[in-house]
Structure formats: structure tokens, C-alpha cells
């Protein structure tokens, strides 16, 4: 049976429980909450141990991106390997869906945890991720060594 007025008392109980629990908010610039591991923010390239980017300039991320915020400009070296002229990323238009990282077959990009993206300069909204570097070429397994 529902007794008249219990809803009102229940409201008081809920707010008093909140009072006992204490504030949930943190003083943001001084205190920060840890981001969950799966948080997706800016697209960032990954690097090998030797400091070279893992990107092979396959262009799949550029094709996959629904917002067209990634742009790769690729040229050919004399030996036929790929050379990345620029890899531009429009942060301002990115919706952080993470489809590019999911599509990347070489695990060369990831969604970083950099979330303080506000800026006073619109030029900051367009980032150059890679510039003037050779694309990664996966070393072919050497059959001679195996034979020997």
C-alpha cells in the first residue's frame, strides 16, 4: 500500500544521502579524474623503436574517415618505396569515432588521451601529424637465412 507523503520523505532521504556522500565534482584544472582506457581523443601516429613512424602510407585511414579529416600526400622515392610528404589531421572537424584506427592494418595510429583541445588560434585546429618521412616498409623475411 502506498502511503500519502512517502514520496516527499523519500526525496528528503535521497538528498540527505547525497549530502553524506559528499561532492562528486573535482576542481578541474587542479584536479583531474583518470580517463578510462577506452577514451578516444586525437588521432596520433605510432612510432617504431628506431623512431620512425609505423605508417606505411596505405591511405586506408583517409578512405575510411567519414568526416574526411585525414589527408595524406604521398610521393614515390627513386627506389619505388613510398614517401610521406604530409599527413594532415583536422582536429576541429574530427568526431573522434576511431574508425581510422580500427581500419589501420598496420597499427600505425591510435586515439590518444589528449583531451584539452580548446585553442584561441584556428590554425591549431589543423595538425601536421607526419611530414617528409619515408613510409615504413615491412622487412621481407630473408629466405637465405632460413635455409642456412
Amino acid at each position: 500500500m502506498k502511503i500519502w507523503g512517502t514520496g516527499i520523505l523519500n526525496g528528503f532521504v535521497i538528498t540527505m544521502r547525497n549530502w553524506m556522500r559528499g561532492p562528486m565534482t573535482v576542481q578541474y584544472p587542479e584536479q583531474r579524474l583518470p580517463l578510462p582506457e577506452r577514451a578516444r581523443w586525437t588521432v596520433t601516429p605510432k612510432y617504431n623503436e628506431d623512431g620512425m613512424p609505423k605508417c606505411t602510407a596505405c591511405m586506408i585511414c583517409e578512405k575510411e574517415c567519414p568526416d574526411h579529416v585525414l589527408r595524406l600526400e604521398v610521393s614515390k622515392n627513386e627506389d619505388g618505396s613510398k614517401h610521406i610528404d604530409t599527413y594532415v589531421y583536422e582536429v576541429g572537424a574530427c568526431m573522434m569515432c576511431g574508425l581510422c584506427t580500427a581500419a589501420c592494418p598496420f597499427d600505425a595510429i591510435y586515439m590518444s588521451h589528449e583531451y584539452e583541445l580548446a585553442t584561441a588560434d584556428p590554425a591549431d585546429l589543423s595538425r601536421v601529424l607526419l611530414q617528409d618521412v619515408d613510409a615504413y616498409v615491412k622487412p621481407k623475411p630473408q629466405k637465405e637465412e632460413q635455409d642456412a
Binding site: 526525496g11 528528503f12 535521497i14 538528498t15 547525497n18 549530502w19 561532492p23 565534482t25
Partner: protein, 329 residues
């Protein structure tokens, strides 16, 4: 009247103004902190340590703001309305007894003066609403009038119980009658009616129909800015204090502590005890404000006329019979 008398009166009035202003500043800070905590927030925290200077900063802002008046407003009424709201709320401090000998004047009809001063406030509110020449303000003012007329009746009837028990309308006498037994125990029903009616009479949420932030955008205070708005705001907080102090006086034994009524130390701390009790009452009002949603106008009025007034009237009759037949033989 000698010069010494005039001086004494002047000091008392100055103390009253000081209490009113400081109390307003403290209560605004307290309200924001309490509401914040009830909603799992921190509340003001940037200006000064723990945000303590936030209200001071707000007051400075209000004082330095330009005094705007809407072009189509009724100039005289618009100008005078904040004072008509503020002065009665200031008057209501006169009979409040903070200690055995601590009141501005020890009036035999103190309760009557206090309640009649409180019932003047809606006139100012309606004036503010009408003079602003804005439909939101007008609706707010009209609601305030309807609500206060409706809730004044149960408020007065609820007060009758303690008055019958103490046999006086002098607030000091009423407190002294509670030396051994706080009136909240025999008069529990009257107390419940009193807190509901007081909450409505001071237009606190869940009965803040005249303000109704989300529908009327501060209602009658809509067109006011600067210190004029400050006056309306201050009156609201001062009413909260008065209603809480009156509740403490009528039901919670004023400056008496339970079982320590004769203790000289407790008596010497009388004003402090009274203030602490009053602030606990204010906390409960803020707690209600943070817990309950605003109810509809028709529900509000129906509740007053169909529930509160019949209950309080019958309680007056029942208590009169008990008093006559059982207690005073």
C-alpha cells in the same frame, strides 16, 4: 523621550540592520553551499578560501550596477516596490526575542506585529509585478498575492496552538512557557502545518510560484537590476530567517536547551543557542528546497484551501477543547 532613550533605540535599530544585512550575506553563501552539497556539487569555491568571499563579490557587483528602469514601467510604483517588500521584512525583526532580555522591543502583541508585517510583503510583490509592465512579472506578482492570502490563514491558525498554551502573544512569554516542555511535542500537528505554511508564505521552493525560475524567470523581480534587485533578494532571505526564528520561538523553546533550562551557562549563551536553532531551521528549509520539485499553482491553492485550512481549523478547535477540559480544569 530623553537623549539616552533615543540613543538606545538608535543602537537597537542599527543592530537590527546589521543582523539583517550580515544574515542575508551569510544565508546566500549557505544556500549555495547547502544546495551544492545536496546535489553532489561543491558550490562556490573560487573567490576567497572555500568561496567565502563570493557573496561579498556579488554584493559589490549589485551595488555598482547601473540602476535601470524599463521605459514603459510605472515609474513611481517601480521605484517604491522594493522598499515596500523590504521594510515589512525589516519590521518583523522588532519583536523577535533573542534572549531573556534581548529584543528590540518587548511587545505584548509581538506575534501579531510580526505576522502582520509579514502579510504586508505581497503588496510590495504585486506592486513590483504590476509596475514592471511585463507579463512574466505580473503573473509572478499575482501568484504571490494568491498564494500568500491562501497560506496566511493556516499560518495564523497554526500559531494559535502555542499562543493558547502560553496564554500570551508576547514572544518572550511564549518562550518562557516552554521551560519544561517544548511546544512541538503537544502541538506537533500545528508545527507541521506551520512549516508548510511558512515555506509557502516566504515563497520558498517547493512553493516558489511567484519566482518560478523555469517558467517565469524570477517572476516579479524580472525587470529589476542592481541594488533594487538586491533589496528584493535580501528581503527573501530575511523572511526565511524570520520564519525560522518564529518557528524556534513558538515550537522549539527559543533560547532554552532541553533539560538545561535553568543552567546559568546555558542562559548566558541564550542568543547563541537561539541563532543555532534558527540556522538549523533554515537548513531544513534549504534541504526542502534542494529536495522537492515545484508544485503547480492549482495544486498549491487547492492544498491550502482544501487540506491545510480545514486541518488547522479543526486542530484549533480540538486543542481548545483539550486545553479547556483536560489541562485547565
Amino acid at each position: 523621550m530623553s537623549a539616552a532613550d533615543i540613543g538606545r533605540v538608535a543602537i537597537r535599530i542599527a543592530a537590527m540592520i546589521g543582523l539583517l544585512l550580515v544574515n542575508g550575506v551569510v544565508l546566500i553563501y549557505m544556500l549555495r553551499k547547502v544546495l551544492g552539497r545536496l546535489h553532489l556539487r561543491i558550490g562556490p569555491n573560487r573567490v576567497g578560501p572555500l568561496g567565502l568571499l563570493q557573496t561579498t563579490a556579488d554584493v559589490v557587483k549589485l551595488l555598482t550596477k547601473e540602476d535601470l528602469m524599463p521605459d514603459s514601467a510605472d515609474k513611481a510604483l517601480f521605484w517604491i516596490a522594493p522598499f515596500v517588500v523590504f521594510v515589512p521584512s525589516f519590521m518583523a525583526y522588532i519583536p523577535l526575542a533573542f534572549g531573556p532580555n534581548l529584543a528590540v522591543t518587548n511587545l505584548d502583541t509581538g506575534l501579531l506585529l510580526l505576522l502582520s508585517a509579514l502579510s504586508l510583503i505581497p503588496i510590495g510583490v504585486v506592486m513590483a509585478g504590476w509596475a514592471s509592465n511585463s507579463k512574466w512579472s505580473l503573473v509572478g506578482g499575482m501568484r504571490a498575492a494568491g498564494q500568500q492570502i491562501a497560506y496566511e490563514v493556516p499560518l495564523l491558525l497554526a500559531v494559535l496552538g502555542p499562543v493558547m498554551m502560553a496564554g500570551s502573544m508576547n514572544l518572550t512569554t511564549i518562550v518562557e512557557a516552554q521551560k519544561n516542555l517544548w511546544f512541538v511535542f503537544p502541538q506537533f500537528i500545528a508545527f507541521v502545518i506551520y512549516i508548510i505554511a511558512a515555506q509557502a508564505d516566504t515563497q520558498q521552493t517547493p512553493f516558489d510560484m511567484s519566482e518560478a525560475e523555469s517558467e517565469l524567470i524570477t517572476g516579479f523581480a524580472n525587470e529589476y537590476g542592481g541594488m533594487r534587485f538586491g533589496f528584493l533578494f535580501l528581503a527573501e532571505f530575511s523572511n526565511m530567517f524570520i520564519v525560522s526564528a518564529l518557528g524556534v520561538t513558538l515550537f522549539f523553546g527559543g533560547w532554552y536547551l532541553p533539560f538545561l533550562a535553568e543552567n546559568p551557562v546555558a542562559l548566558s549563551l541564550a542568543p547563541l543557542i537561539f541563532m543555532i536553532k534558527t540556522y538549523i531551521g533554515i537548513f531544513v528549509m534549504m534541504w526542502a528546497r534542494g529536495s522537492l520539485p515545484r508544485i503547480r499553482v492549482d495544486q498549491l491553492l487547492a492544498f491550502a484551501w482544501k487540506a491545510l485550512i480545514p486541518i488547522s481549523l479543526s486542530w484549533v478547535v480540538i486543542w481548545a477543547c483539550i486545553q479547556r477540559l483536560v489541562i485547565v480544569r
